[in-house]
């Protein structure tokens, strides 16, 4: 999708195995909704599937519009304008935003300050383009002075953003949107009496309503590992070696709940052999040391899975320890 004024429409297509696949672009990611077909005959179901897809697409785009840091008409932009216009004066936020801010505050507390939704300004000095260009330390220090959740005035529902500071809910938005879509579609299914198994995938963060109606799980592919293929016997030129049909690698069976991944694939700086992760420690303004390449977590909700994977990444070398203590399935790529 280009930066066109009107976003492209959502697409619906039938898939083998009794599924509808809806797809659309939002939050700079490919979004996908898999729905089991319901009702007989199948033709009747297309309109219903299209309606559910529209609900999903509208909800994701609503959240994107509301919390985008690139749009001047977003709710987030309104907070920043209010802060700039009347410094020190609180702005009143709605119920949904208050819930998200509460969650951000909790994560800040739980992470000892590593998770901070005011850290976005560090991006003004850090450009993670795979190059070796580190920002000058004094520029980092100046930017880091404008970071710090404790200096944000938050007394639900009153928010006060000090001058020069900015909030960014990008670290929560996609996962929250996935959970919201599931909540809406479930409610819709109950309302119409056509509750059906669903899988929502927003750019790799995903949540399932439950198992498929035959009880089988949803299969989620993870990046193909390479190497370690079985070798044929060297001396043998006999061509009828046992055939070894290749199976898709790294398949996760997801019966219910969510999976979310945090990672820095392709977003890093490399200097003198040191890889600087795009993950910045808001306490210092410098990249987190020893962060895994990516962390995937399975949790009951996508929001939680996403937060846990981010908190684990921010923990650097301690990512595995943090995850091990939670008792949830997880995958760490180093």
């Amino acid at each position: 999708m280009t930066a066109a004024a009107q976003p492209a429409a959502a697409l619906l297509q039938p898939l083998p195995g009794g599924l509808w696949r809806g797809s659309f672009e939002a939050m700079a990611s490919p979004c996908e909704l898999l729905m089991e077909r319901a009702g007989e005959p199948a033709d009747d179901d297309e309109g219903e599937a299209r309606r559910l897809l529209q609900i999903a697409c509208d909800e994701v785009r609503r959240i994107e519009r509301k919390y985008s840091r690139y749009r001047s008409d977003s709710e987030l932009a309104r907070w920043h304008r209010a802060a700039a216009g009347q410094p020190g004066q609180p702005v009143q936020v709605d119920e949904e935003s208050a819930g998200l801010l509460d969650l951000a505050a909790l994560c800040h507390q739980l992470s000892g300050g590593r998770f901070d939704i005011s850290s976005g300004v560090l991006r003004e000095v850090w450009r993670f383009d795979g190059s070796d260009r580190l920002p000058p330390p004094d520029a980092v220090a100046r930017a880091a002075e404008r970071v710090g959740w404790p200096r944000i005035g938050w007394q639900r529902p009153q928010l006060t953003i000090p001058p020069g500071m900015e909030l960014d809910l990008g670290g929560l938005g996609k996962e929250y949107a996935a959970d919201r879509v599931l909540t809406l579609l479930r409610a819709e299914g109950q309302r119409t009496g056509r509750d059906r198994p669903l899988l929502i995938n927003l750019g790799g963060d995903l949540v399932a309503s439950g198992p498929r109606s035959d009880g089988s799980p949803w299969y989620v592919g993870i990046e193909q590992p390479i190497g370690q293929t079985p070798q044929a016997d060297p001396g043998s030129t006999h061509p009828t070696q046992p055939a070894q049909p290749t199976a898709p690698a790294g398949l996760i069976a997801l019966k219910s709940g969510a999976l979310a991944t945090s990672g820095d694939a392709r977003r890093f700086l490399l200097r003198d052999g040191v890889r600087y992760s795009h993950l910045l420690d808001p306490r210092t303004g410098w990249p987190v040391q020893g962060a895994p390449r990516s962390v995937t977590v399975a949790a009951p909700t996508c929001t939680e899975a996403g937060l846990l994977s981010t908190l684990a990444m921010l923990q650097g070398e301690g990512a595995e320890a943090l995850l091990a203590a939670q008792g949830l399935p997880h995958w760490v790529l180093r």
Binding site: L106, L110, Y219, Q224, A247, G250, L254, P300, G327, L333
Partner: protein
């Protein structure tokens, strides 16, 4: 690059150092962070509607089954061997990375196979191995035993499991049977990851016991062909040791070096292969005419394999080189290259997209010390009751010096939910070195015709 499942995560105690050095209050108590976040998120998403979601997700620990089925058709040119091989395999992953598998292979072979005798300017007649009949080869043609017909059934059971966090062990057993051959094998391997799985060491041991019951009995080695047998069966025992080392060189490059040492002892000859005894000047079959082949009763093999894979943005390049040598005098080089070309992605929810994988393989081996296209009467072979013959001799072209080339392509077509169709087409061409100093009539004949073969494989794989 591999996303490593860490499902049987260590107890928090195993990580006590890093856990206490962490300033995360939640990470000290088991699941404290999880519970705090779960409660907060439930509040955010509006309570009741989401309450059922609070159950611990039945994600990866669910057991999964994978079924693979494939049919392979192998066909050699000039009416030689045709093999049809259906394979069915089932694999179960218990969700904790313990996999158990069972594979059933059925092989039917029909057609004709060279019996080892050399072409002649006149027709030749041979007794079939079963002793029940004869077959005749036309003048100028390489003699083929047209009675070549067999069915093989093989069953393989395997089990693989993690041993702690960075070690894995596997064990497998297989049995295979044909009407004149039976084999039982056991193997085990152990792998260990080091340095955050950037290095992996693996060690393996496998053993195999074979029993050979040729039709009509085991021919007397070096004896005159079709003249009787010594015993009804013989056996062979094979042991292989494997050591491998895998190193992640970069995010996109992985390299593996492995060494294999194998030793077989017992009956190694092919009971259906003979050699022609020809006159040194005319090249015509003479004296005892045909003798049974004979190979050493042991074989020690070494091979060294180096393989690298590069994961490009999407595509994967796989190159390998293998050096092989054994104490029969065969040394071989293999170069193998594959390029997995991704044709596009399905989106994030299922598998990768379709792909095309061209495959090129080049193989060159030198001949075994005792490979002979024929034996010369009065030279190293002397016919008659008190005659003499070399200790070992075989005209099996698999022991000759030859070059083999494989050209193939594989097409993979995922259809969602982990299901995938694969189609593989390969052509193989084997060029056997022509023997030097062919006497008389043999000079004008094609003694070692090229072998051309074609392989087609269709496979389907799905989880359930």
């Amino acid at each position: 690059m591999q996303l490593t499942p860490d499902l049987n995560a260590p107890t928090p105690a195993a990580f006590s150092t890093s856990a206490t050095s962490s300033s995360l209050p939640g990470s000290n108590g088991t699941g404290a962070l999880h519970l705090a976040l779960a409660a907060a998120v439930t509040g955010l998403l509006g309570g009741a509607a989401q309450a059922e979601g609070l159950k611990v997700p039945a994600a990866a620990p669910a057991a999964t089954w994978q079924a693979d089925a494939a049919v392979l058709l192998y066909r050699e040119g000039d009416g030689r061997v045709t093999a049809l091989e259906p394979v069915i395999s089932l694999r179960r992953n218990d969700g904790n990375d313990r996999t158990t598998g069972l594979r059933l292979t059925l092989d039917t072979l029909t057609g004709a196979s060279p019996n080892g005798a050399v072409a002649q300017p006149t027709a030749q007649t041979f007794t079939s191995p079963s002793g029940k009949g004869t077959y005749t080869t036309a003048a100028g043609r390489t003699p083929l035993n047209s009675e070549f017909r067999d069915t093989r059934i093989a069953l393989l059971a395997s089990h693989e499991r993690p041993l702690g966090t960075d070690q894995r062990g596997s064990f497998s057993a297989n049995v295979s049977a044909e009407h004149d051959f039976a084999s039982v094998g056991l193997s085990g391997s152990w792998t260990r990851d080091f340095d955050n799985k950037n290095r992996t060491l693996s060690l393996g041991l496998s053993t195999e016991f074979d029993r050979i019951n040729p039709e009509g009995g085991v021919p007397v080695e070096r004896g005159v062909a079709f003249a009787g047998t010594s015993k009804s069966s013989d056996s062979r025992y094979v042991v292989d040791l494997l050591a491998g080392f895998t190193q992640v060189m970069s995010r996109r490059w992985i390299t593996q070096v492995s060494y294999n040492l194998g030793r077989g002892s017992g009956y190694h000859s092919d009971p259906y292969k003979i050699l022609s005894v020809v006159d040194g000047s005319t090249g015509l079959v003479t004296g005892d005419r045909y003798v049974n082949e004979s190979r050493p009763r042991s074989r020690t093999r070494h091979s060294l394999n180096v393989q690298s894979k590069w994961h490009l943005t999407q595509d994967v390049v796989d190159l390998s080189y293998r050096y092989y040598r054994d104490d029969w005098g065969i040394s071989a080089h293999t170069l193998d290259g594959r390029y997995r070309w991704e044709l596009g992605s399905h989106g994030g929810s299922g598998d990768g997209g379709p792909y095309i994988e061209p495959h090129l393989r080049w193989y060159r081996q030198s001949a075994a010390d005792f490979y002979r296209t024929w034996l010369t009467e009065g030279g190293e072979y002397v016919s008659g009751a008190a005659g003499r013959s070399p200790a070992y001799a075989s005209a099996d072209t698999r022991l000759a010096a030859f070059t083999g080339q494989t050209l193939g392509v594989k097409l993979g077509l995922p259809t969602g939910q982990g299901r995938e169709w694969t189609l593989r087409v390969e052509t193989y061409r084997q060029k056997i070195d022509q023997p030097a100093n062919a006497p008389g009539a043999l000079r004008s004949l094609d003694l070692t015709p090229d072998l051309k073969a074609f392989t087609l494989m269709v496979g389907y794989s799905r989880p359930f």
